[in-house]
Symmetry: C2
Subunit: 542 residues, 2 copies
């Protein structure tokens, strides 16, 4: 989820020599390096002269040119007569198969498990969740709305390739809510350990910031910055920004709601809730950081989700490339052969060999490092050292007490406890039961602890911690199902967190892909962009 | 939509004498006046002694007591043997009928049109829209997602009675988006008249505010307010609030997106879009006011809408009270009779008489002032002077260019032009066509102008103005349907804007209801709260 800003001249020179300058320029674009990319949208990728050194850095790119490769950039039928072994049937692997098939390549996806999608997964009644040392069976009731997305669960509105495939495949989408002002913010060491309704945090933070800035402006403290007209205008803006009163004081706001609002809705009026003291809103990192999350480009509204579960996307991709998929095919060796690749995989106990002209390897680095291979030392080193987030979630079936008793429809509550977040379902509003994500732990020591807990310990701690936000959790959250991605076979991690470098370059006829090799680590759109990058390289060396 | 803060002792004394002190206290609560309301939730409403003067003002209410009446507050079977004529089959009238029937009252709803719901209305293919001087037939294609809510179109999450009825009636709800960072903000006189993507306004406003406040803090301008620890903490918070850099400067942010973002999604990285200059963000009222809208209690996320159209709610209410509704019944006289009321109505040309013990009159004041009646002079005067917003909307069928070409999924764009807002559909994402609300005009002179335009003029001006935000509107927005509420028969206005006073009190056995008599004018929840208030009075005098 972090933008990589890399400017690695040596690496770019090497990819320039290896695969042609057009692919190099696109690699630069994918890595976020400003350049002029006149070739984008053309089919000149294969025309670069490998002997030429890369051009010196270009002036800043004109609008619209600094973009990574996309379908349409490659010559029609460029892959006819060529075969590709795609390792891993997740989003990146299926994207590569789909788009390369369209270019004429003959693709075979080897998927280690019985199901495509990789970390794109939805758990429903009867599903089995295996980790390296445990197995759970989901005991939710059978219902279209009783599902749990343990991996990706939301889609930013500008992830246009993923959304384009949803449109192409006819996948129904609905709105996902990150910020719900009725949700809760909870620190064990602030406000007496009591959760605070989010609207108070929003309103009172803005109120305090606006009041202080208005004060500074009117004390002429910013006269070096502001003209008299600016001062008048910013005061008017700040009154609106923070809901200041006529004296430019912040004495609370209806934006923060009314006393008893958690369960009296709009019936109650007439007195404002007391504003939170600024000091309490800034004296812990937890509160400081609540000011930015949903402003980020990847978390801004509108966010989306597929109706009925994220795996609608995996199933739709799968339907596109169904004839090219071999499931239960665990790759055991990745070899270079003369002018191509040789893959050995184990299919239900039978070793099998697949020869191909190219290999697109989307296997997570955590898994790949334990597969016999002929990779270069540089590629192997980066694979061995690639870090992953140890993230996990747990989800319970429960009466929708959050809707019925607290007017919470979707969104996220935050806590300083290990569970980090509680997610409320963004669909099925008004039904009696729903799936409550009782913990979403992004990583760090909390993620490691979560993974190391027994299944029952995860349930117990999520209920204990969740009850500090919603006492109802204790009695009503049932049938907990958890996924710790670092212990899921063939994943062994939630998403890549290292900056990719050598793995963005081909190793002879082997190219690498997956969310971990993208500018959008941890996102399905990153998996897709990475697949396009891999295709771009294969096309260049075809 | 405004909270009324009234403290009108004389009026309260009069209602105390007329209907008992418990109902008076609830009226005070409904009006937002702090008081102790021990009777709330009990059945003592009818026990007050009309001869006693009201008690002196009580100390501020304890938490949870300052709430308006609700079902459950009234004695079981209190209405048995009593009849009620309910005038108007909108949300308030149907709520009154539903809840009074549950109390044993025998209710009859007289609805002037052929359809219940009032301003709760959804327009689909083939529907006819009549105004006082025009008629339109909706030519949208037949499709579940091709509908237009010309009246209420969103539900705040804390409108718990409306949402409770949705739950009770099994009405499916989905998320409605007010704030979409991919939508546009447009002033004809700022930024060269070009629309600006909303994320830039959000990010750069926060960035500028945070930068200036950090500057003031570090120049010790606020030392009278902040301790040294406070200063350290607020700086940390402001960095997060505004995405300031290490020098506490704001030089732009990925929150504002990347160049070309309107149609290159996430592919583009590596250079930030230039931040908007603070001066341009504060020098027009339009930009100043964009800072507050969705922070308001009634517009905060989560907002909701019924799947398939707002009239799902009207149809569900209607099903509850179906046997009590007389449609096409235009009330022509409202009379007081001995111990009751006498209503004369015209049903398809036939004058008919309805006698009842009580009347709950939900007819908008704009219409009511032209119906013959026996109201007191005070009631008549308030009816005659009651103001309404002249709001209206127009909606087009179009290819979803906003999704396909601009990554806009739901939400609202704003402009200084008369059309005020453009709404994108919040459902049916990914389908080829959708309904684009091309203008939502709240009132004022723009609303009056809109109402006075011919149907074709409204279409022409909405397309001309909309094209300044989206050039696609010119070619692709078709089949426009408009509603100007001030010209819709039996409504003659969008919502009440005067502060109600006398109309909150009964006129003998006639009580008044409707959104205009609530603390939530213009909202369906207000219509419901008003109905509860009317019931409370009727119960008190039964």
């Amino acid at each position: 989820m972090k933008k990589n800003k890399m400017a690695r001249r040596d690496f770019l020179a090497s990819i320039g020599r290896a695969v042609g300058s057009s692919a190099m320029l696109r690699t630069m674009a994918a890595m976020g390096i400003a350049t002029t990319l006149n070739a984008c949208g053309s089919s000149s990728a294969a025309t670069g002269n490998p002997a030429n050194p890369p051009a010196p850095p270009a002036p800043p790119a004109p609008p619209g040119s600094l973009i990574s490769p996309r379908p349409g950039d490659w010559p029609a039928n460029v892959g006819v007569g060529k075969t590709v072994a795609i390792l891993g049937g997740g989003i990146s692997g299926m994207t590569a198969a789909l788009e390369m098939t369209r270019l004429g390549y003959n693709c075979t996806i080897l998927e280690a498990t019985a199901t495509t999608g990789g970390r794109n997964r939805t758990i429903r009644a009867g599903d089995v969740v295996n980790e390296t040392d445990s197995s759970q069976t989901c005991l939710y009731d059978f219902d279209n709305e009783l599902y749990f997305n343990p991996g990706p669960a939301r889609i930013p509105h500008h992830h246009e390739f993923l959304l384009g495939y949803c449109r192409e495949f006819g996948i129904a989408l609905e709105t996902f809510t990150n910020v719900n002002h009725a949700a809760l913010m909870h620190s064990t060491t602030a406000f007496g350990g009591q959760p605070v309704i989010a609207r108070r945090i929003h309103a009172d933070s803005r109120g305090s910031v606006a009041r202080l800035l208005a004060l500074a402006v009117n004390q002429n403290a910013l006269d070096a910055e502001l003209t008299a007209a600016d001062k008048t205008n910013i005061i008017a803006m700040l009154r609106n920004f923070g809901d200041l009163d006529g004296s430019l004081d912040y004495v609370g706001s209806s934006r923060a709601g009314f006393p008893g609002q958690e369960n009296t809705g709009s019936r109650r009026r007439g007195e404002l809730v007391n504003p939170l003291v600024l000091r309490d809103l800034i004296n812990e990192t937890f509160w400081q950081q609540r000011q930015g999350f949903a402003e980020g480009l990847e978390q801004q509204p509108t966010m989306l989700q597929p109706v009925g579960g994220m795996d609608r996307i995996a199933r739709a991709f799968e339907a596109q490339v169904l004839n090219d998929i071999v499931t239960d095919a665990e790759v055991t060796e990745i070899r270079k052969s003369t002018g191509g690749v040789r893959i050995i995989y184990d299919r239900l106990g039978t070793p099998t060999q697949l020869d191909a002209d190219f290999c697109v390897c989307t296997i997570p680095a955590t898994v790949l490092r334990n597969i016999a291979n002929d990779f270069s030392a540089a590629h192997q080193a980066e694979i061995n050292n690639f870090s992953y987030a140890s993230a996990g979630k747990i989800a319970f079936q429960s009466r929708r007490f959050w809707e019925q008793d607290h007017n919470i429809y979707g969104g996220i509550s935050w806590t300083t406890q290990d569970i980090t977040q509680i997610w409320y379902p963004n669909s099925g509003f008004g039904q009696n039961n729903g799936i409550l994500v009782g913990a979403y732990i992004f990583g760090g020591s909390a993620g490691v602890n979560f993974a190391n807990q027994s299944i029952q310990q995860r349930i117990n701690s999520a209920i204990a911690q969740g009850s500090n936000l919603h006492p109802e959790v204790n009695a009503e959250a049932t049938r907990g199902v958890s996924v710790a991605w670092s212990k899921v076979p063939f994943q062994l991690g939630a998403w890549g967190t290292s900056s990719p470098f050598t793995l963005l370059t081909p190793d002879e006829n082997i190219v690498f892909a997956g969310e971990h090799l993208s500018i959008l680590q941890g996102w399905q759109e990153g998996a897709i962009l990475s697949a396009y990058h891999a295709i771009d390289i294969v096309v260049a060396i075809t």
